[in-house]
Amino acid sequence: MAFPPIFPPATAGAEFLTGSPYPVAVLDPAGGLRHASPAARRLLAPPADPQHGDATAGPVPAWLRRAHLRLAGGGRTGVVRHSDPLAGTVEAHPSPQADGSVVWWFVGADGCSAVLPGTAGGGPCDWELLTRLSGLLLSSLNVDRILETAARQAALHLADAAVVVSPPRGRTLRFVSALGGGDPVHRQVRADPAEVPGLAEALRGFPPVPSRWIDPSATPDWLVPEGLGRVGSVVVTPLPGHGVPAGALVLLRGAAGGGFDADEEVFARMFAARAGAAVSAAVMYSDQASVTDLLMRELLPPRLAHLNGVDFAGGYRASVDRDRIGGDFYDVHPSAEPDGEALALLGDVSGKGLEAAVMTGKVRNTLHALLPLADDHQRVLQLLNRALLTSHHTRFASLVLASVRREGERVRVRLSAAGHPAPMVVRADGRVTPSSTLGSIVGVLPEATTRTDTVLLDPGEACVLYSDGITEARGGPTGREQFGDHRLQQALGECAGMPAEAIVERVQMLASQWIRDGRHDDMAVMVIAAPPRGHLALVGGRPGRAA
């Protein structure tokens, strides 16, 4: 120990003092020292050089004891100033406790840096380093990355080698180890953490345990990173995980490296606290992210391609760019029979964001269940209407149903709109006409009605389904103008003969350029195209797009 034994160690309930960024001490009513942070012990310790004062003074220096007793005697004592040979001018701020003891906080002009750990030599303990390491640890939300950072930095700055052990799952123990200056390595072993004294307790995460020295000869081989050689000293420190077990940090030094002094232990603990916070945040984030991903997978728009001689392509942009889902939806259901009609649909649920997306899931599921009735659009819409009316949601939806069948080299599309913008038909010569289909919205009125329109597409012609997020997108030169049907028609007129996905991309691009950075609603577009002659059928065909 670097400090005289007359100072009581930080005892139970006062461990937090060790991490205090300022020196702090607790004095009992009689003026005896009850607890002190390491920095406060330094500040209050008699100077080593007798020239600078009375080396025989008690554990609490006279200036502080005087102020303390004045306070205990009912006197009004505010801030006490003291000139310390090491720390310079120090202000002592009292906060009296109910039991008569007083917590004294010491504030120096420069934050008492002279008595805080490690500033003297700039060695392994310094605040600048700790700040930098905290930045590295907190910047990632990926658990493996953080474990690697923790192992790499600990091996570089705190010891010759470091191992970060994750809480065990089953009988497998996973850890990341690093040698000073080397790259971290992930490993896993079938081992019992109890083989390493203190490790099992540290991994449990609760109750908190102090860091613990262990006998180097008791260290199992799997724990020692390759290349370290004979182990001189080992210390196991828990990573405090805020309710989530975060793991443990094992620091190792070679036989020549010597032990860890008290300052280094304090620094290691502060490092471990930050690493633990980073790991637990990342664990929570990745748990949440995987739940979100799982739920979202069902709500994401499907990838469309070629189906029974018809090209389908779709594109979607959620109103909130952070989200990938929203109130618009589209689907293509192939027919059960090879020559049957495929059912394509595109729609829009009132509202936006996650709630609307959940509703689109219900609508899509309902329509999926109604597939056997798909040749009767009127009936499908009526049943969907009834389902929406009887659900506890107050939301409603608009949509277009399209039954699609290839006939020779043409494609027949039966379109039924329900409160939705009528699809546009793009002819080979560049003419663009809206379909004549018209119908009422679903989920509001007791009955849903629609008028179906049948369109025949020659090769190279297309039918474009879209949500009003496209035509009502506000932007343009003034920032307030709507994109409008006429701009969409004009854009589609130039798209005659283009592949389905190129039309989708073109529409999406023009709408995005129109709104620029402005706010916008969900935007969905789907193209049903009769393949041009000389067409290439393609199923899927994008490299590993992330789920």
Partner: protein
């Protein structure tokens, strides 16, 4: 990758043509929208022994570059450009499903390939994704215009060895900067590529990218060597200290007002502008919007040459549309007057007008 070809490929009895020859033939097929012919050519070359990577980079990449060149030279329309790109994209899809496109063993690490937020030119990124897949990388291809929040969430979830970031238009550089710093903060090194970063990669380095590559092949080579983990996190403004003057923010935020002011001035000065049709007005507003956008990017990067280069290019485009040169010079003068309190903006506008000595700011 589950691409498959259902149309029967044409047989090629002749020896495999040279890459340049093949590019020529593909060009004809792609421009005609003849997907079957294009795919048959590509698959034929593959089956007569052309290496997949060479097919992608020595045949299809030049083809795509040619599509871009022809569009810039106004020999094909933007719609034709889209259609042609869609055809090449399908051809690549067919190729990717071909047995010859087996990934190399042993497997390498994991890479994310993405386009900058707002960037629609996804094809270069797609080619890189295919090349990296061929070389044994596990590739997450996020496609065109990937919103930065998605990208960063993806990086946190998957912790790839590197992010390959693609941008074609210099207007996307501020968004690229945001993505680069955020990825590095998440501990992922970034290799940047695409025309936006400059022919020598100067903007990639300016924005703090860990590496830059001129094309897909050198990007793959650079990644094979491994990118070191990024240094400690930094803020975007650390790279570009001149941003503290807020000129970029002020100009980009008032872009619409600036454009409106310039159009109003044009109408006052040039009678024909007053009689513009709706469509002509929209085109003019578009052109002016781009001028302000590139002015803002020049302010962001602190590089007046970026604006001058853009103007030189715009000058040619406008000349092709027979828009008088005087319009451009006049517009710059109006902008300089509107922005007279912003010294860097005035300097950029002045520098851009210097070469042809178009007059002094009012």
């Amino acid at each position: 990758m589950s691409a498959q070809q259902t149309a029967a490929p044409a047989r090629l009895p002749v020896p495999v043509p040279s890459p340049a020859d093949l590019t020529d033939r593909l060009w004809t097929a792609v421009l005609a929208g003849d997907q079957t012919a294009a795919a048959a050519l590509a698959v034929g070359a593959l089956e007569s022994g052309l290496a997949p990577e060479a097919l992608l980079l020595d045949v299809i990449a030049p083809l795509q570059a040619r599509i871009g060149r022809e569009w810039a030279a106004d020999r094909i329309s933007v719609v034709q450009e889209h259609a042609a790109t869609a055809v090449t994209d399908r051809v690549v899809g067919v190729l990717a499903g071909h047995p010859a496109f087996a990934p190399a063993v042993p497997a390498r690490g994991r890479v994310t390939v993405a386009c900058v937020d707002g960037e629609w030119h996804a094809f270069p990124a797609r080619l890189l994704a295919e090349v990296l897949t061929l070389r044994g990388w596990r590739v997450d291809y996020l496609g065109a215009q990937c919103p930065t929040p998605h990208l960063i969430a993806h990086l946190h979830r998957t912790a790839p060895d590197a992010l390959a970031l693609s941008a074609s238009l210099a207007a996307r550089l501020p968004a690229a900067h945001a993505a680069i710093t955020a990825a590095q903060a998440a501990g992922v090194p970034v290799i940047a590529g695409g025309a936006a970063f400059g022919a020598d990669g100067r903007y990639a380095y300016l924005l703090g990218a860990d590496a830059w590559a001129a094309d897909a092949r050198s990007a793959a080579d650079r990644l094979a060597g491994g990118l070191p983990a990024p240094a400690s996190p930094h803020l975007p403004v650390d790279d570009l200290p001149h941003l503290v003057d807020q000129e970029y923010t002020l100009v980009s935020r008032s872009s619409r007002q600036l454009v409106a002011a310039v159009l109003a001035a044009l109408e006052r000065e040039f009678p024909p502008v007053r009689n513009y049709t709706e469509l002509q007005r929209e085109h003019t507003l578009d052109d002016l919007g781009h001028i302000v956008e590139y002015l803002a990017v020049a302010l962001y990067t602190g590089d007046p040459a970026l604006f001058a280069d853009f103007l030189a290019w715009t000058g040619e485009v406008l000349a092709a549309r027979s828009v008088p040169d005087a319009f451009l010079a006049f517009s710059l003068r109006v902008l300089a007057d509107e922005l007279r309190d912003l010294p860097r903006s005035v300097a950029v506008l002045t520098a851009a007008r210097q070469p042809s000595d178009l007059g002094s700011p009012s």
